[in-house]
């Protein structure tokens, strides 16, 4: 599962990984809506504990080093940024402090030649959880540390287009960008780390800072801080006393439950209120079984694909062959057979439907047309000359190995279906399953696979270069189209989204024509929510947005003592 911040980045990110566990679900409506507040008798109440089931433990939930979930989720919970990001109506939205308590700045303006700089005026009197003031110097230090190659920060990409960051005084900071571009606000929203805690540590040692051994000592600016941490078991988040808004809950207990079935049982049991990573193909069944449950969707944040590696299988260089193999697949049948419901939808191109300005609704997915596929294969010279059921050309049978990862039942089912469908058109696919790290090693590092079934996370940025330009660091299919390269370059050099978007759409359309991947479906990342927990805001951006508004309706979890009986804070 990717996190809000990971997701919010350029290029479609590949997360075959937790796409494994990822799932979907909505509380029956569009994402972004608070859950049934009005339905609850008496409205929001103060106090109580919410229990979250997370897939893994926290590791380095710090703005310079977070990677993946749940560390990345904690950025929305534990650290403020100059502006507060969210995703609404198909767009990234950046809020200032008058709209979000997670924003440090109350005002921003474009400045400098070509408006290639931004000045942010920060709220005064903001404090870190240890009582120290939050100043513009924290912002400057965070950007400098992220940009320093010695830090090796996974977030350094947010500083690539930044020339310098300067504090004009304690509450005014100016970010000078190398040029004007649509993603300036995004890059200006790096979560800010406390300079007074980390500045004394050499940059190459920041990643192993002692605070990562005891997260209760972590100094934060957001609504919650780590109150207790039992490694591998549970993280107790308690309100940060210096955050401008007092959260409704007294605490959030994040339990580490790696097994998805156990998370589901705990959710059904009522012992967990917010279960992350519910496999999306199980959400419809669970909702039927327990109608009180709802499912928060990070909508269409992953897309499942078959990648064709033209570097290892010569016939995959031919777009017609790739098209024929795609046409042999009954994607709708797969989605029905695996009961994906409305938690997935057919994918037809690089832009997920969540991009209102970039997704092309007119772009049609490949039809399921085995006869058409056969005709194309015949026309390209692949015929079954020796009557063994496998097409051949120049004495070589049409045979390749389809790689996928273990630990994901859905993918295991899908590869079996794919193998059968290709067999029907005379193509022999052999299945190879790898453990996830090895799968990535073959797919991303060595790129020695032939075909792969996996999924990428959907970045919330328009930029297609990382995965689709011929020199893209994550162009794992070896796709090289000079026309697309030129369109991507032009789009990247545009100063505004309005100017760049038509170019991005054109590049996407061209990529779809070439079918370097066969797009299968976009699907949701799903969080199961018990009827007890209210006020959640699961959107395509993340699951923990505005967590200070969460509240519990009714008594404690099953098996837990009543609030008043023990310790007063339950």
């Amino acid at each position: 599962m990717k996190t809000a911040r990971d997701r919010a980045r350029r290029g479609a990110w590949a997360a075959a990984t937790l796409a494994l566990l990822a799932a979907c679900g909505d509380r029956g409506g569009a994402d972004g809506a608070a859950k049934g507040d009005s339905a609850a008798a008496g409205g929001p109440r103060q106090g109580g504990t919410a229990v979250v089931a997370e897939i893994g433990d926290l590791s380095r939930p710090m703005p310079l080093f977070f990677q993946g979930a749940p560390d990345g989720d904690m950025m929305d919970v534990m650290y403020m940024a100059l502006t507060s990001q969210s995703w609404e109506n198909g767009h990234a939205v950046y809020r200032l402090s008058d709209e979000s308590p997670m924003a440090l700045a109350w005002h921003h303006e474009y400045t400098g030649p070509d408006s290639a700089a931004m000045r942010f005026r920060m709220r005064s009197a903001l404090k870190w959880s240890d009582g120290q003031p939050i100043t513009a110097h924290d912002v400057v230090w965070t950007y400098q540390a992220a940009a320093d190659e010695k830090t090796a920060s996974p977030q350094s990409y947010m500083t690539e287009q930044i020339d310098s960051v300067q504090a004009e005084n304690d509450s005014t900071v100016v970010i000078h960008f190398k040029r004007r571009y649509p993603g300036m606000l995004f890059d200006a929203a790096l979560n800010v780390a406390p300079r007074h805690v980390y500045a004394a540590t050499p940059r190459d040692k920041l990643g192993t800072h002692a605070v990562f051994s005891d997260l209760t000592k972590m100094v934060v600016s957001g609504a919650w801080m780590v109150g207790a941490h039992q490694r591998g078991q549970a993280i107790t988040l308690v309100p940060n006393p210096h955050f401008p808004v007092r959260p409704r809950l007294d605490r959030i207990v994040m339990r580490v439950i790696p097994d998805p079935q156990t998370r589901i049982v705990e959710l059904l049991n009522g012992t967990v209120d917010f279960a992350r990573g519910i496999p999306f193909d199980q959400a419809p069944v669970l909702q039927q079984r327990q109608p009180g449950l709802s499912f928060g969707r990070e909508s269409r944040r992953y897309w499942e694909f078959v990648a064709w590696n033209a570097k290892t299988v010569p016939q995959f260089e031919d777009p017609q062959i790739r098209r024929a193999l795609g046409m042999a697949i009954d994607v709708n049948g797969i989605m029905q057979q695996l009961r994906m419901g409305d938690y997935a939808e057919r994918a037809a191109g690089p832009y997920s439907p969540i991009f209102r300005d970039l997704h092309d609704p007119a772009s049609q997915p490949l039809p399921h047309d085995p006869e058409g596929a056969k005709r194309i294969l015949d026309a390209q010279g692949w015929r079954d000359t020796d009557n063994d059921g496998i097409r051949d050309k120049d004495g070589k049978p049409f045979r390749f190995t389809l790689m996928t990862n273990t630990g994901n039942q859905r993918r295991q089912d899908v590869v079996t279906i794919l193998q059968r469908k290709w067999k029907e058109v005379g193509v022999d696919a052999r299945i190879q399953m790898y453990e996830l790290t090895t799968f990535f090693d073959h797919l991303i590092t060595k790129r020695d696979y032939q075909a792969a079934l996996g999924s990428w996370g959907v970045g919330l940025d328009a930029d297609l270069s990382a995965s689709w330009s011929s020199q893209g660091a994550y162009n794992v299919v070896g796709y090289a189209n000079p026309e697309v390269d030129a369109m991507i370059e032009r789009a990247r050099s545009q100063p505004t989204a309005a100017q760049a978007n038509p170019l991005w759409r054109a590049a996407a359309a061209r990529i779809v024509q070439d079918q370097p991947y066969t797009w299968l479906y976009y699907y949701d990342n799903t969080t199961g929510i018990s009827p007890r927990l209210r006020g959640t805001h699961v959107t395509s951006y993340g699951a923990y947005a505005r967590s200070w508004e969460w509240w519990v309706n009714g008594g404690p979890q099953r098996g837990a003592a009543p609030d008043s009986a023990k310790g007063g804070s339950r």
Partner: protein
């Protein structure tokens, strides 16, 4: 005996070093590295390379090995790339968590297994013997992860939803309100969390022990000295538990030695399903993340337990059967 113990322990040192050296180099052959998890389109190859430098993964293999070996002999297991903290801080916690679970499981395995085996042997071919044989084989052949899920579904989910008098927690080591409980409540809470995973972990092996116990007891129970004991008028209880059982214990002690490493290595699937933060989960997570130092540290613990388990077996042989001499 003491000289024997010292000799065995000294002999174990090169054995352990050999095992660890082998694991170190085999690990390097596996595809991927600890930095692979950071690879995504936002992280440039230069940043990944710097991460390797910061973690010392860019050094030549022999240098990494030398550095690891020196740290190891000075009592420092190194830094976990997966958990991002020193392994010396991680190990005690996960070892203790696992031992709580596996000690209870060992009791289940041996007490339940031996009792069933004895009953079966004493009542050979009776209905009880046949039923217990069936049950033993049933549980013995059941995969522990499936059994664990069934236990959760029945004794946690079903019991909770149907309002049974007793239902167990599905996962975790303690309840979320543990810190607010009294001493007695805390003890009860921990026991309640232990029961299902301990049963899931122990029942299959208990069935195995029962089969061994039955076989060993049957061999002993038909021997002349048992008949003599009965002829002397000793009670059946004395005959079985004092005379027969002690002589039938040798294969069970061998099993105990074999189970000892399990005491610390934990059980991967059961720990994962019950969200029990023990060694088993840590080992698998470390292997999947290519967290080399953590794999080395946990391998050392397990290899040491194998050596100690074998040693303990050899010593116990002499204790239960004075005819066996280790000198």
């Amino acid at each position: 005996m003491l000289a024997y113990l010292v000799r065995r322990l000294l002999g174990a040192i090169p054995l352990l070093l050999g095992i660890l050296t082998l694991i170190f180099f085999v690990l390097q052959l596996a595809p991927g590295d600890p930095i692979a998890k950071f690879a995504n389109p936002n992280v440039s190859p230069e940043v990944l390379e710097q991460m390797r430098r910061n973690f010392g993964l860019d050094r030549p293999l022999h240098e990494q090995y030398g550095k690891w070996l020196w740290s190891f002999v000075t009592g420092d297991f190194g830094y976990s790339f997966g958990q991002m903290r020193p392994i010396n801080e991680i190990l005690p916690g996960i070892l203790w968590n696992t031992m709580q679970l596996t000690l209870i499981s060992l009791v289940v395995i041996f007490v339940v297994g031996m009792l069933i085996g004895i009953v079966q042997a004493v009542r050979q071919y009776s209905i009880a013997d046949n039923v217990l044989t069936f049950l033993a084989l049933f549980f013995y052949s059941m995969p522990s992860f499936w059994f664990a899920l069934m236990l959760i579904l029945i004794f946690s989910l079903r019991a909770g939803q149907d309002g049974w008098a007793l239902s167990f927690p599905a996962s975790g080591m303690t309840s979320i309100d543990y810190e607010y409980l009294t001493g007695a409540e805390k003890f009860r809470d921990r026991v309640m969390h232990l029961i299902l995973p301990a049963i899931a972990l122990g029942i299959g092996s208990a069935a195995g022990v029962a089969r061994y116990m039955r076989g060993a007891m049957l061999e002993v129970i038909h021997q002349d000295f048992i008949r003599t004991a009965r002829a002397k008028g000793l009670s059946e209880r004395t005959v079985v538990f004092k005379h027969a059982l002690r002589n039938a214990l040798i294969p069970i002690i061998t099993l105990l030695g074999l189970y000892l490493p399990f005491l610390l290595s934990g059980a991967v699937l059961v720990e994962t399903i019950f969200a029990w933060p023990g060694m088993g989960r840590a080992i698998v997570d470390a292997i999947l993340a290519r967290d080399y130092p953590m794999v080395m540290a946990t391998s050392f613990v397990i290899a040491s337990m194998v050596v100690l388990g074998n040693l303990l077996s050899d010593v116990l042989y002499a204790v239960v059967d004075p005819r066996i001499r280790n000198d």
